[in-house]
Symmetry: C2
Subunit: 535 residues, 2 copies
């Protein structure tokens, strides 16, 4: 069996080495005890070998044996993605639907062997990248008679680097940091940093249309994909490497967002950047959330294309950037590998000033060429730390329910949409989680025609009732997002979690089109059942 370099945690986002320590979990329990006014203590983490799962329902044929296993720990760690409903089930040792085997194909031939075997034997095949999905993207549905999880961790090389076009051909299983490490000596970077970056893969990003570092202009991985290769049960689906094309409906766009239902993404040519050495950043406070979001609109509509242009509402700014609870925080950042960002940030700063944003001239930090990051101090530095330090595991099972949902909406609809979300979701939150529940908003990405708002909620929940309470709030959120005119996801993907809501947002006939496409590419319907469409 091929060995991945690090073992994934079965109960938190990331590796075993990312798991919070007992001390960290106790600290989290103390903090939550204070907030809730009752004493809570961290649940015991089961030893992986003590977790009970059903016997594998598969007999793996010899030709797959070299890279496919029914090992207990492997099956446990591939049962769940990274959503809190999953991590909570995991830490409690509930694993009713593990995959029957886990394959680690080392090349397309081996992957093809797995897909062929699954097709012939009607075994469900579940593509697995980094397992960081927060939308139930990698689970075995209860209705499956048998399933293999296909972990792409042994197809994780950078195959070619083209410094002239600034592009690289990479295997789908490569992790974010490994990709950046391979590009660094060439002075290049993808600079696509979803929050899952340390543990998620290029293939996962493409399959789920992840959102990355850039808050404006080129936001989704979509914009960085020059070509893709997807191995389907029907054959190899390889698009041509092109900087642009107008030839028919784009085949890459069929792959982007396909979430493993058509095939397994094996490779991609990605568009890269020169590493930034010129930077400028600014944090500004607004006493009015509305004026702050208007400032964001004005900046993005100038088409200066800042790398960072985000705003945190007063609750988000208080919880994660240490502000006073009344002010919103606008975070602005420019970067370039080639020229000073003094001029664009001055233009944007003037817009902020015109909209009533508060900052001192000294707050505009410009770095011309040292390569040092600006924007690591003060409130925006605090926010950055909160964003990076995901730490999904420490608070698990301590009686606090937290989750997020995110969308995109045009500017004309935005203020009403925000009010609608806060009213609908807020009232359900208070009903279910009580009056101390919080609902906060920030923009993760912004476009000239509208923002991508990201809502976080949190509140006390009786231990053991997390899923039921979460479900009520989540359904209210889905309903509010769809009835308000938004998209069910700007960058978290659809998965099994958002499928019913997504079905309401797509055009009549589109479900049938995707199902028809699936019948061509995956005639036996083995791939990732339950995601996007029914077969």
């Amino acid at each position: 069996m091929p060995k991945p370099t690090e073992r994934r945690s079965f109960w938190t986002w990331g590796y075993v080495s990312d798991e919070p320590s007992e001390a960290e979990r106790n600290h989290a329990a103390q903090q939550i005890s204070q907030r809730l006014g009752t004493v809570v203590s961290p649940p015991k983490v089961p030893r992986i070998k003590d977790i009970e799962i059903r016997e594998s329902r598969l007999r793996i044929p010899e030709r797959l044996n070299e890279f496919t296993t029914t090992d207990h720990a492997e099956r446990v760690t591939h049962t769940y993605g990274g959503h809190s409903t999953e991590l909570l089930a995991a830490i409690r040792g509930h694993f009713p639907h593990p995959p029957d085997a886990v394959a680690h194909p080392r090349n397309e031939d081996e992957l093809e062997m797995v897909l062929d075997w699954c097709t012939t034997n009607q075994v469900s095949a579940i593509p697995y990248g980094g397992g960081t999905t927060v939308v139930w993207g990698v689970n075995v549905p209860p209705s499956c008679e048998s399933a293999i999880s296909i972990d792409m961790d042994c197809m994780s090389e950078v195959l070619e680097i083209d410094e002239v076009s600034r592009a690289a051909r990479v295997q789908a299983g490569i992790l974010g940091p490994h990709l950046e490490n391979a590009l660094r000596p060439h002075g290049l970077t993808l600079r696509h940093f979803p929050q899952s970056f340390p543990w998620s893969t290029v293939g996962g990003w493409i399959a789920t249309r992840s959102g990355g570092h850039y808050a404006t202009n080129h936001t989704h991985i979509d914009d960085f994909v020059e070509s893709t290769t997807m191995l389907c049960p029907s054959g190899r689906f390889e698009t041509r490497r092109l900087p642009g094309s107008g030839a028919g409906p784009s085949p890459d766009r069929l792959v982007l967002g396909s979430e493993g239902i058509f095939g397994v993404i094996t490779e991609s040519w990605l568009r890269l950047q020169k590493r930034p050495v010129f930077r400028a950043s600014l944090g500004a406070r607004f006493s009015s959330w509305e004026k702050g979001t208007e400032a964001v609109r004005a900046i993005v509509q100038t088409k200066l294309w800042p790398a960072n242009l985000r705003i945190l509402d007063p609750v988000e700014a208080m919880l994660n950037a240490g502000l006073n609870g009344n002010d919103s925080l606008l975070i602005l950042g420019f970067e370039s590998g080639d020229y000073s960002q003094q001029s664009p940030i001055e233009i944007a700063a003037e817009i902020i000033r015109d909209h009533g944003g508060n900052f001192e001239q000294d707050d505009i930090l410009v770095d011309d060429g040292t390569g040092r990051a600006t924007g690591r101090g003060g409130a925006i530095g605090a926010w950055r730390q909160a964003f990076i330090g995901v730490n999904a595991g420490a608070g698990l099972g301590l009686g606090l329910l937290s989750d997020t949902f995110e969308t995109a909406i045009t500017w004309d609809q935005w203020p009403n949409f925000d009010a609608h979300i806060r009213e609908r979701v807020g009232s359900v939150l208070r009903e279910v989680l009580g009056s101390s529940a919080t609902l906060a908003c920030r923009f993760t990405h912004v476009y000239p025609d509208g923002p991508a708002p990201y809502y976080s909620f949190s509140g006390p929940v009786p231990i053991g009732e997390e899923f039921n309470h979460w479900k009520i709030v989540k359904e209210a959120a889905n309903e509010a997002v769809i009835s308000g005119g938004g998209t069910i996801t700007h960058h978290h993907a659809v998965g099994r979690m958002h499928k019913p809501a997504w079905t309401k947002q797509i055009p009549t006939g589109y479900n049938e089109v995707l199902r028809a496409a699936k019948r061509e590419l995956d005639p036996a319907g083995i791939l990732n059942p339950g995601v996007l469409v029914d077969f």
Copy 2:
């Protein structure tokens, strides 16, 4: 019958009012006579009523009669698109395959009635926007038993303008100038100017993924489409208006480039711009084509996103911008509705200087806020006039064969690709059209990872042999583009002309996917037969 405002010419791009006069045609004949060394004179343009076409094979039912006609002139003017092979057939009075009727639906209900009737009676339905296709996109295939051309000219209104999000909801049949006229009072513009702009429609742009004004960043209409509505035989396919989304494979991307095979596009929300008032432009000469294209690469890779960044090779620069035949001409332009473009053009100018480009400091024209266009004088002004003054009709049938083909390719492949095209196509050109044939290249759009080269060829041809000679050259061009790694079209679309070559460039299985999608949306297979896929 609804009346369109202007009558289309049956033998030239545009309206009857755009047709070249007898004097202009005689002048063209004189010029071509000089070039060819033999006296040629313009062919006589037949009167439309004298053109012989077969009887309509359809009996239009009463409910369609109010907006559907079998009128002779209407059928004649809807037989062809705008490619020179078509215009030449037209001026010679050859109309073997006219549509049997032309419908001008005034709303979706009427359009639905046509599609229903066509579906029930197995009548081919050919969506028609401005008729400017240069890839045989609107013809009736000889194998069709009957066909209706569906002209969208009576669904051509701007329905809503959203100044906050900077977007407009427009009907698909609106022409470029009418759209811009409607937006101007709001201080807004789409600024999408394909060469066909005066006569082509928003629906046509979306169906064919047209390329527009912006040479970098947001080049295709794809980037400006916020949502689409397409009426399919299966029903109304309406996407949600969203500034961005990551929810499954994008349904808009199925519509973009669909060239009328799934349905008829009826509406779209389009992303708009503030009208530019700050401008900067520069024309620079390079004694080396290679160094000039390297300068273009360096500029586009800085991500300054100029609105204009084009380069003409020495032949193109001589023929259309009056240069000496040795120099290439780089054309650079920045524009903004909000801030001075002095700083970005200075940065780009320095790159040009570093790459050996020749210009005087005075050649950098900056206009800060008067709204006057720069870049209308000198060589770049001459080129602009040549680009706008299409004048497709004047040279018809005078013994000169001219055509263009265009593609996109990554930078690392570019120099070899260019050599490959010039060698393969050049040798065929000389063989077929003789040693005086010319082959020129320019970049119409450029990306950080590669350019979109546009080749023009021209040479003497025996009158009457145009099609046969053109076909040999065109097949060589298609073969060279595909074998060289390019796309068969960056923005001219696939149509019937490029279908065989396109089939070679798409992934295995993609043809089947599109056919499966067509079976869902157009179960009787009535829509635009012969385009993209076979049914």
